[in-house]
Amino acid sequence: MTDALTISDLVVEFDDFRAVDGVSLSVREGESFGLVGESGSGKSTVLRAVAGLAPITAGTIAVGGETLGRTRSKDFYRRVQMVFQDPYGSLHPRHTIDRALAEPLAVHGIGDAEQRIVKALEEVGLGTGFRFRYPHQLSGGQRQRVAIARALILEPKVLLLDEPTSALDASVQAEVLNLLEEVRRKRGLTYILVSHDLAVVTHMCERLLVMQHGKPVELLTSADLAARRIETPYTRELMVASEGFKRGA
């Protein structure tokens, strides 16, 4: 099996601040990999560095065996796409859903936009009734479905998911997570999922990396986590915290 994504000794610096400090990981093709941590752990920055939205100060990132440089080729974006955290901020407020989905096709000069848009909307369970609406006419869950459709319309192999459900209600989160699992199974996608929620990551991913202050803490499988085979105190702390409040603790 080849690796869909390899990151070695990644360092990301903004001015004097080191957001990511020496992260290495590799994700197999078709695997779902999770990055867990609290705010300021650098988990989202890793994802943004892969996407080209954050600078790579040191280390390398390779997608499909090809090392990424400072600029990304157009072809890269057909292989790697991203879904953002805030469904209210990831859709252009003046563009209809139709336009949001047509734009990537236009950028890459792909024909039969009509058919592809209809198909993409159906795939994320929205139907064509939503096609000409504006984002403000949609709920948070519906917007996130549109964002997923937009990411999938270029038929990428790797999907970067940055807290895709943390701004959604619990019941909507379940729907979106189910949708993500379904498209992954159907298309054989590789996922890299960033979340602060340990339960969501173990639900979605086979392996995960716990991060703190920009540094990797522990790499473990979801099965290990579920069975509480945990080695570092920080992971244990996260685990306890995610189980809810305990009086007198």
């Binding site: 705010s39 619990a170 339960a199 639900h203 509480r228 409040f245």
Partner: protein, 277 residues
């Protein structure tokens, strides 16, 4: 147990371009000196319920109720001035994000002292002493240092603690906490909750805890109101939550992924129109 707060048939509605939107539609409950959780998803009216009690509903909305009595005072009849006097002194509110609730150009210590002065609970050296004691009570390690800091100089968790200190320093009888920990990291969240828990227990306050997180609320409160589309669909003792009868409450509990329990796909909520009826 005498009731601290009685709410009967509370309604909040907002006029909009496309007609009147009813955010809260007939909510009734009584509260003693206990911890009551109000849980619901976005748009369920849980926050507006909390705000209506405090009189913080936006001015263009209309609030009505058959009864809204706090410790023998009819909140529907009191003047704006009396309401202001109640607010902060006897009823206090902690909001989700301390960044928006603290005055950015005033030192944290001064803000807390001002709260004390505003409610006639001490000025000068006395107020300073109480403020420092309060900061210590919310487990801020160097109260003297934090006293002199501005809100932007502290972390989210620290800011929320300062906010709680400010709200509790006047020793209110009722605290309304609207998603007080949702903006915080999980590990910090628990610290803040245990501080809140300790203070409420020690001072015998009533607490209304508004949140979207059913599991968190049930582990923290004595009693839970589950709201859906502006109504209370179920009221249940927190420790009996797993025996809940209403399909919405059950659905909310089930749709969360759980550690060590794999369920693919996750059960989703099948919203029935009659829940909102």
């Amino acid at each position: 147990m005498s009731a601290l707060l009685e709410v009967e048939n509370l309604r909040v509605s907002f006029p909009t371009r496309s007609g009147v939107v009813e955010a809260v539609r007939g909510v009734s409950f009584t509260l003693g000196r206990e911890r009551l959780g109000i849980v619901g998803e976005s748009g369920s009216g849980k926050s507006q319920t909390g705000r209506a009690i405090l009189g913080l509903t936006p001015p263009h909305a209309t609030v009505s109720a058959d009864r809204l009595v706090f410790d023998g005072i009819d909140l529907l009849c009191v003047s704006a001035k009396e309401r202001r006097a109640l607010r902060g002194k006897r009823i206090a509110m902690v909001l989700q994000d301390p960044k928006f609730s603290l005055n950015p150009v005033m030192r944290i210590g001064d803000q807390i002292m001002e709260t004390l002065a505003a409610h006639g609970r001490g000025t000068g050296a006395e107020a300073r002493r109480r403020t420092l004691a309060m900061l210590e009570a919310v487990q801020i390690r160097h109260p003297e240092r934090v006293f002199r800091l501005y809100p932007h100089e502290v972390s989210g968790g620290m800011g929320q603690r300062a906010m709680i200190a400010m709200m509790l320093v006047a020793e209110p009888d009722l605290l309304i906490a609207d998603e007080p920990t949702s903006a915080l990291d999980v590990t910090v969240q628990l610290q803040v909750l245990s501080i809140l828990d300790k203070l409420v227990a020690e001072r015998g306050m009533g607490l209304i805890f508004v949140s979207h997180d059913l599991r968190l609320v049930s582990s923290f409160c004595d009693r839970v109101l589950v709201m859906y589309a502006g109504r209370v669909v179920e009221e249940i003792a927190a420790d009996r939550l797993h025996q809940s009868q209403h399909p919405y409450t059950q659905g909310l509990l089930n749709c969360l992924p759980k550690l060590g329990q794999s369920q693919h796909p996750l059960p989703v909520l099948d919203r029935k129109p009659e829940w909102a009826a």
